[in-house]
Every structure is written in structure tokens, then in C-alpha cells.
Symmetry: C2
Subunit: 388 residues, 2 copies
């Protein structure tokens, strides 16, 4: 086990009707906030009106800024920063899913910074201050509600890059599973793939003796695997929605990273796919992960056998562990297909003619990506080909 | 699943040599602190000298107060409060196990309070302020390093009561598994029983549909079950000690309570045993839990079957689930015996002549204890008899 530091300061307020606490919670982080959101669904569902009413009742002023798109754009981040400065806002309330929260986090660190907020994503600077961010979560997927991560796309050059610092963990996250009843099946499934991918990236590690976190990872995966088909069959099943939503936060708040080193090559490659083709992140991961697994299976067969046996209940072939390992990967692929996700990039509308470019960009400047198995351009290309 | 609130603000600093950070971490919480500890083992091991040297190097002043005993006493808490007030200390550093940390937490809330610190334990008052508490953990057991709990014994009348409020969560916890190498086998085993009991109290719930936390509980139990025999056979096995230590914090930081209602009857009963006979808490729990399980098994056979199958790998008897359920309890009892713990109260030196009194006190004022199954005096008596 590796040394680690860990805390989870985000106040989680989870359950039915918890959005009613948004006024009092927001007042704890600011007196005038940027109310950041994405699609018109927030308005048409009545959530926007409910939230603004509660903010007003709590004496919290706000400026609304909607329009966050999946794979959130730097241009809107810059607009948010401008509004916060001009109106002297002192906090941000993100109402939505991972894209809205990531956009809010980027605005948060951008406001007190004299330079360009993109500096934090390109690695040119490390943020030291932020406006506090609060969350009302409507899509369980990215885990951004309790994570130290934000991913933003810079339209100039289609760069999609991430920032990872404890500073940007939200102050609070209101999580009402009922708000996810209206999620369409594809978004429910893609969110599940995103959640599962966050666990899988952490699961495949070269760090020895990580029993507890292995088992916590398996627990989280099995919970999602079991509950997603229930939620797809009955979108208003509170308990299934609740299990998925809580698993989404646990999957990415770094509890499952404690003492281990995750891989993250597949996320890097998917970011390049998303940057060029604007695909749904979770669906892109579902298309890529089985390919990555095929490529890396031989690197640590025992770990793949454990994944197959413990997560998928594959009966072990003790004489031929490869068979068990391959069966685990096949089960994952079949599961994602069964919940309506693409099994390949073409199914996502990603043609194969720019594979070379995506592989090149994923390992930009000739650097490798991935910790479990180092991925250079050649391997990135192979993963993209296997997924095509 | 029930609604819940959760956060884990304690900064965990985990791994080899992490006690070297005690100076810089303590400086963040205070400029002059009470250095609170228990046995002379802290001094003889050299840890005391190392910690004081690091505090001095970081410019942190300190007053030392040792002598905390297992089942920490109110009289020492009062002495600590007096010292903090007289010397105008602004923080507390607890170096030791759960008793030292609990004592530090009680001192912390006592210092700014005008009344008697016992008020917080007797339920007469709720603390609103505390001195910040930091921890260097040397015994994985109570989970107090990241929990909202403190248990203190009032010698006048042998009352052992607990305080549970978020306010008293430590600011930081330094956890170096190497510091646990010197723990004697009995303390290692009793600590494990304490950790396992914290999970078991949460596991047996009447709340329906708690998949994720069920599985997180099972993950934590299985990790402890697997690693304790390794640590007993080879006390200097870093990884086994590390798994147990991290599991101890996870078991009691309330992550495993999210969305569920725990039982806690057995803890109440054990507190009465400890209050009268001053037994090691974990050992007392090991003697009592199988008895509690015998009594409550029929209440929710399915949950006991799940416990047997998932935690102990018992092959299910689908025709006769009682057989599977009973086997799970038998395995737990056999496991605790195998690591050197008492299977009954007499083995702990607790005679049966005051059973009536203990049962009476556990359900003081005619109230029931326990949420999974309500335990009145009659049932408490039966548990104590079964354990005798």
C-alpha cells in the first residue's frame, strides 16, 4: 500500500426533498451567487423556479447563467468569470450534472486569478483561491459533486483537459435521487458507464496489497451493475436511483484511490475522442475500455481473474486463468451492451479516419499515458483500432 | 434508503513515516497544545521524544498530560480542561488509541464550556464549540481518529456514556501502520473485534435497500478478517497492519451508516460490562455479539443469510436458510476464538452475579436499546446469560 492523504470535506445532503435545503446551504457559502446550469430541462422541470424561490427566501441574491453543454466549454467559463467579477458575486451554485459542476469549478478558480483560467488546465499555473461552489446534482455520472476534478474543453484547438486539486471540491452537494427520474435511458446508462469507469481506472493498479480498496471498488461496481437495469426498467424506482447516485459520488471522491495508483489512460484517450467528436463521455468510455482491457490483460492476469471472479461472479478456471480473465472482460462488454451502450466507436458516430490524430494527441509531446501499463502512441492506436 | 448527511472533514495522513508531519500539522490547529497520551509505551518507544522534538521544531508549545487509561476517566478529562484553561492552550494533540482520542475530544468540548463537561455525555447539554483536536494514532480499534464519537467513564457511579456530534471530529489524523508493530497479540485481536463490531452494528438494520453500504460493510469486514491472522503471525507485516488500520477508520467514520439506521444495543450492553469490570472494549464485544446474534437471528433471517454467504463464504442451504444463518454466527464466533479472543464473559473475568444489574443499567429508565430488534431488560438479560 502507498502512503496517502485523504479527506472528504464536501457536505453531502442526500435524499428525498433535500433540494429544499438549497437556500440555507447556499447562504453558508455566499450572499450573491452565480446560478449556473445547463439545459432548459432545469427550467421546464420546475427545478429552476424552486431553487430561485428558495434562494430568495433565504436572502441570497443570484445571477443566472445557463447553457452549459456536455464537455463544457472554456468560452462559457470565461463569461461566468466576467459576470462574477462585474456583479461582485461571492459564490457559485451549480444545478445540473458533471459538466455544469466542472464549469462552475473552473469559474470558481478563474474569478480571483489575474491570468487566463485555462492556465490551470494547461498546467501553466496552480490555483490558490476559489469562489466556493455548491451543487444540486441532477445526473449521477461524473462524480464531480464530491471530487477534486474538473474537465473543460477549449474550443480553440479542441483541447479537453482536466484540473485536479483539493481546492475545488464543492462545499456542499445536494443529492435527491428523485431529480434523476426524468433522465432518459441513454443518459442513465452512459452515467453508469462513467461511474464504473472511475472505479475501473482505480482498480487496475500495480500497487501491491490494496485489499480494502480492492473490495470497496468491487462493492461499488457490483452495486451499479445490479441497480442500473432496475432503474432502466422502472425510471421512478427510488432505491435503485439512490444506489446509483451515491455510488457515483463514492466512485470519484478518491476514497477508492487511497493507497493505490490508478491508471487513467482510457480517460485520456476518451478525452481526445470527445474533443473531436463531442460524444457523451460515459458512452465513449464504454466503447474504449474493453479494448484497453484486451491490450492490458496479459500484464497482470491475476488482477483480471480477480475482477472476473469477484465483480462478475465468473467461476474460475484454475487450470487456465486466461479463460477466466477474458470472460470478465466479455461480461463487462456484454453488460454495457445490455444497458444500451455502444460497443464500438463507429456505433457512437466516430469514424476511423482520424484515429491516428487522436492517438497522437492522447500521448501529446511523445509522453506516455497510463500507470498500469504505459501507453505510447502505438498502444493508443491499437486501443482505438480495437474499439473501431 | 434513508435520507442522510455526510462528510469526512478529518485530514487523513496515512503511511510510513507520516508522524514526521506532526509539527506542521499541529501548527495548523494551534500554537500551544495539550499533548495528551496514555501509557508509558509512548515514552519508552521513543515516539514521545520524536513528537515533542517535531513540535518544538515547528514552533508549537505544549503541555504534556499522560495517564489516560482504557475506558478513559472523567477525572483526567477535568484535569485536562483545567490545564488547557490555566495555560491558555489552543489545541489538543492526542497520541495514542481510542481512549486517548476520546479523552482529548472530551477535554476539547469542556474547555470553552462554563458547565461540567459530563453534561455533554449525560445529555444535559450539546457542545457548540471545541478546541481543535489532532491525532497520532497508535492503536487501530475505536476508529475515534475520524469519528464523531467519544466515550468517557464517570468513576462516580461507574457510568460509561458516549457523545456523538460532528463538532468533535479530529482536524487531522496521522496514521502510520509501523507504529502498531509493537501492539501485543491480544490488543491486536481486541482492536479487530472493535472494528468488526462497528461494522456489524451498522450492518444489521431494518432499512430496506441499502445495497451499496451493505457491500461496503462486507468489504471492510472481509479485509479485517483476512488480515488480522497475518498481522498476528508476523507483527511487522506492514501491509496487513495498514489494511487493518485504514479499515478501522472506515468502519467508524459513518460512511458505512449512510442511508441506514444501525443497531448499537450490543455496544450499550458492553459499556455496562466495561463500566463495572473495566474489560477491554473489543474483547467485551467479542463475548457479547454472538449472543446478541443468536437472539436476533429469527428477526431477519435473510439478512443473516446474506451475512453468512457474503462475509463468511458459507455455501447456502436454500432449503433451510436457518442453517446458513446459524453457520454465519458460528463462523464469527470461531474466528474470534481463533485470534485469541474470549468466547464468553467468564473468560474475560466477568462473573455472572451482577448480570441483573448490568441488564438493568443498559436499559436505564426502562428505555429500550437497539434499533434492529428492541432490547428491553428481559432481552438484555438473555444476551448476558447466553454470553456467560
Amino acid at each position: 500500500m502507498e502512503n496517502f492523504r485523504f479527506s472528504m470535506p464536501t457536505r453531502i445532503i442526500f435524499g428525498k426533498n433535500t433540494e429544499r435545503e438549497v437556500g440555507t446551504e447556499t447562504r453558508r457559502i455566499g450572499s450573491r451567487v452565480l446560478l449556473h446550469y445547463g439545459s432548459e430541462r432545469i427550467r421546464s422541470s420546475g427545478l429552476f423556479a424552486e431553487v430561485t424561490g428558495l434562494l430568495e427566501a433565504a436572502g441570497v441574491g443570484y445571477e443566472a447563467l445557463g447553457g452549459v453543454k456536455p464537455n463544457p466549454r472554456l468560452s462559457l467559463v470565461e463569461e461566468g468569470i466576467r459576470i462574477c467579477r462585474e456583479r461582485k458575486l461571492d459564490g457559485i451554485l451549480a444545478v445540473g450534472g458533471g459538466s455544469v459542476i466542472d464549469s462552475a469549478k473552473a469559474i470558481g478558480v478563474g474569478v480571483p486569478y489575474r491570468g487566463d483560467a485555462w492556465d490551470f488546465f494547461s498546467g501553466k499555473a496552480v490555483p490558490e483561491e476559489t469562489l466556493p461552489v455548491g451543487v444540486v446534482l441532477t445526473i449521477p455520472a461524473a462524480g464531480s459533486e464530491a471530487s477534486k476534478s474538473a474537465v473543460v474543453t477549449n474550443e480553440e484547438g479542441s483541447f479537453k483537459l482536466s484540473l485536479n486539486v483539493d481546492l475545488i471540491k464543492p462545499k456542499f452537494a445536494i443529492m435527491n435521487p428523485e431529480l434523476t427520474y426524468s433522465l432518459p435511458p441513454f443518459q442513465t446508462a452512459a452515467g453508469a458507464a462513467d461511474i464504473m469507469s472511475h472505479v475501473i481506472e482505480r482498480y487496475f493498479t500495480n500497487v501491491d496489497h490494496v485489499d480494502l480498496t480492492d473490495r470497496l471498488c468491487e462493492a461499488t461496481l457490483k452495486t451499479v451493475i445490479h441497480n442500473v437495469p432496475i432503474a432502466l426498467a422502472e425510471p421512478r424506482d427510488y432505491d435503485a436511483r439512490a444506489e446509483i447516485m451515491w455510488a457515483g459520488a463514492i466512485a470519484h471522491n478518491d476514497l477508492l484511490s487511497t493507497g493505490r495508483v490508478g491508471d487513467w489512460a482510457t480517460h485520456q484517450i476518451e478525452h481526445e475522442v470527445s474533443a473531436l467528436y463531442d460524444v457523451t463521455h460515459g458512452a465513449g468510455l464504454a466503447a474504449l475500455f474493453p479494448a484497453w482491457m484486451q491490450l492490458t490483460c496479459a500484464h497482470d492476469l491475476k488482477r483480471y481473474v480477480q475482477f472476473a471472479a469477484r465483480v462478475w461472479g465468473v467461476e474460475e478456471d484454475y487450470r487456465e486463468p486466461e479463460i477466466t480473465a477474458r470472460e470478465g472482460i466479455a461480461r463487462l462488454k456484454a453488460y454495457w451492451k445490455s444497458i444500451g451502450l455502444p460497443a464500438s466507436l463507429p456505433e457512437l458516430g466516430v469514424p476511423s479516419d482520424r484515429i491516428e490524430e487522436m492517438a497522437e494527441r492522447a500521448v501529446s509531446n511523445g509522453r506516455k499515458v497510463g500507470n498500469f501499463v504505459p501507453i505510447h502512441k502505438r498502444e493508443a492506436l491499437e486501443i482505438l483500432r480495437l474499439a473501431s
